[in-house]
């Protein structure tokens, strides 16, 4: 019971102070400056950009990922301290988007990293991005943003998928 209460305090605190690390691949990075600066001002919600993965809570995947960048993203994600969350921008991490038939682009990010919130669109407007942040805060408050627990629980499966994408193991072709 006391552990639950402690978790609740932790959730309230982490909801109100999400520090983000934007992994600027693709075109989504350009949507972030208006969100950070005076037009939309995400600092109202205690959010802010951070310099290194160790300090950050939210990883923003801003656009498509090639297999090469996926390696780096996985490294960055594993350096972050739990509880940690992932937001993916645009349609590319959902189903490949306009890179649906590309040979070196990751089609479904969800197979390699646990994504908490998706923002659809190509690219989403800053309003959409803000909406995603608010949605993530709501999920954290309800205790539903459990991507990092999922990653720990199904670590073997995630690793297997990642290795398959990197080509360490012969297996089914990535992305179908």
């Amino acid at each position: 019971m006391r552990y639950e209460e402690w978790n609740k305090i932790s959730r309230i605190a982490s909801r109100k102070s999400l520090w983000m690390l934007h992994f600027c691949t693709g075109c989504g990075a350009v949507e972030l400056p208006p969100v950070m600066t005076s037009r939309y001002d995400m600092e109202r919600f205690g959010m802010g950009p951070m310099a290194t993965p160790r300090q950050a809570d939210v990883l923003l995947i801003t656009g498509y990922l090639t297999v090469k960048t996926l390696k780096r993203v996985v490294n960055v994600y594993e350096q972050m301290q739990s509880p940690k969350y992932v937001i993916s921008f645009g349609s590319c991490p959902i189903n490949g988007g306009m890179y649906w038939d590309s040979y070196n682009t990751v089609k479904r990010l969800d197979r390699y990293l646990p994504v908490d919130v998706y923002v659809g669109g190509c690219m989403p407007r800053p309003e959409g991005v803000m909406n995603a942040f608010l949605e993530l805060m709501k999920l954290i408050d309800e205790g539903k943003a459990r991507g990092w627990e999922k990653y720990q629980k199904y670590y073997e499966q995630y690793k297997r998928n990642q290795k398959m994408a990197f080509g360490f193991e012969r297996g089914k072709n990535e992305g179908d």
């Binding site: 402690w6 305090i9 932790s10 605190a13 982490s14 109100k16 102070s17 600066t37 005076s38 001002d41 600092e43 109202r44 919600f45 205690g46 950009p49 951070m50 310099a51 290194t52 993965p53 160790r54 300090q55 809570d57 972050m80 301290q81 739990s82 509880p83």
Partner: protein, 314 residues
């Protein structure tokens, strides 16, 4: 025995209040910078939320025992510094000659911070630590000269006594100390690592420098240390030039409260000034900062020192 216990209780109370004020100031600071940027900004209690979040993180990566202990080292150092400074005219641990002691104590937390960052093994942290130490070397020369000027004028090396002797008029109202206060304020800018002297922790150039590998509870204690430094450095400035915020001398309960409130307002004023400079300037490179302090600031500080010396001997 009872006196001893009361003293310990008072020290604990003052430390807690000082840390709470420091954490509050971090939030106020972000709010002020946001208003300068024409943004709404976070709530003023954001510092408390940030620290609560960092201290309740589920995983905390350690890079060895030096990394863990160095944080305690710097946190203890900054708390000790606060205890040697009169807050609102109340002397806690101050003794004769504590102005020199405080100068040494101010170096301890920064060295602890450097030790922790060095133990993390990140190359960005190593560059940041080197820059922070060069910065420390730079701002200490003009600051020490202004402190020597004060010591010569008031003929004492006790900070509590300097505060006491400013009863009639604050040091900043005496002409040579106006110059000295301007120099010390720019030195304060370097101590607080605000722009234009924030190159040691520049987030874009060297990935926040010494903090690069800190996360979770370690970053939380680092933020507590940062909160402590804000209070310690601004209080040092207020004690030296603004009479420590002492306006009532009769020793009643009311005078303690009033002095404390005035101290709070004065350090808020000094901190706001520092933030306004921070929000309106880009950052110096490290050799530019060094040149600024050793060439211009040190010269001005030296002029004020000679001026004070001539006033004293005439």
């Amino acid at each position: 025995m009872v006196d001893f216990l009361i003293k310990i209780a008072v020290i604990a109370l003052y430390t807690t209040i000082a840390m709470l004020v420091g954490i509050l100031f971090m939030g106020i600071g972000r709010k002020i910078v946001a208003r300068v940027h024409n943004r709404v900004g976070p709530p003023v209690y954001q510092g408390f939320i940030d620290i609560a979040k960092l201290l309740t993180k589920k995983t905390n990566i350690s890079h060895g025992w030096i990394y863990d202990l160095a944080l305690l080292f710097s946190l203890t150092g900054i708390i000790l510094t606060i205890l040697f400074l009169p807050i609102g005219g109340v002397k806690l641990l101050g003794t004769e000659g504590d102005a020199f002691l405080v100068l040494y104590l101010l170096a301890i937390p920064a060295l602890g911070f450097a030790l922790g960052a060095g133990a993390s093994g990140n190359p960005n942290a190593a560059i940041g630590v080197m820059r922070a130490l060069v910065m420390m070397l730079s701002y200490e020369l003009p600051f020490v000269i202004t402190m020597i000027a004060l010591m010569i004028y008031y003929d004492t090396s006790s900070i509590a006594q300097i505060v006491e002797l400013q009863r009639a008029r604050w040091a900043i109202m005496i002409p040579p100390f106006m110059l000295a206060a301007a120099v010390a304020d720019m030195a304060l800018q370097g101590m607080l690592m605000e722009a234009p002297f924030d190159i040691p922790t520049a987030p874009h150039e060297i990935a926040s420098g010494p903090m690069a590998e800190f996360g979770g509870k370690h970053l939380g204690s680092l933020m507590l240390y940062k909160a402590g430094t804000i209070v310690a450095y601004t209080t040092l400035f207020v004690d030296l030039f603004l009479g420590g915020g002492v306006v009532m001398h009769d020793g009643s309960i009311l005078s303690y409260i009033v002095n404390f409130a005035v101290w709070f307002l004065l350090i808020l004023l000094i901190f706001t000034l520092s933030l306004l400079i921070n929000a309106s300037f880009p950052r110096f490179r490290i050799e530019q900062a060094f040149k600024f302090y050793w060439k211009y600031e040190a010269l001005l500080a030296f002029i004020s020192l000679i001026w004070v010396y001539l006033m004293v001997i005439s």
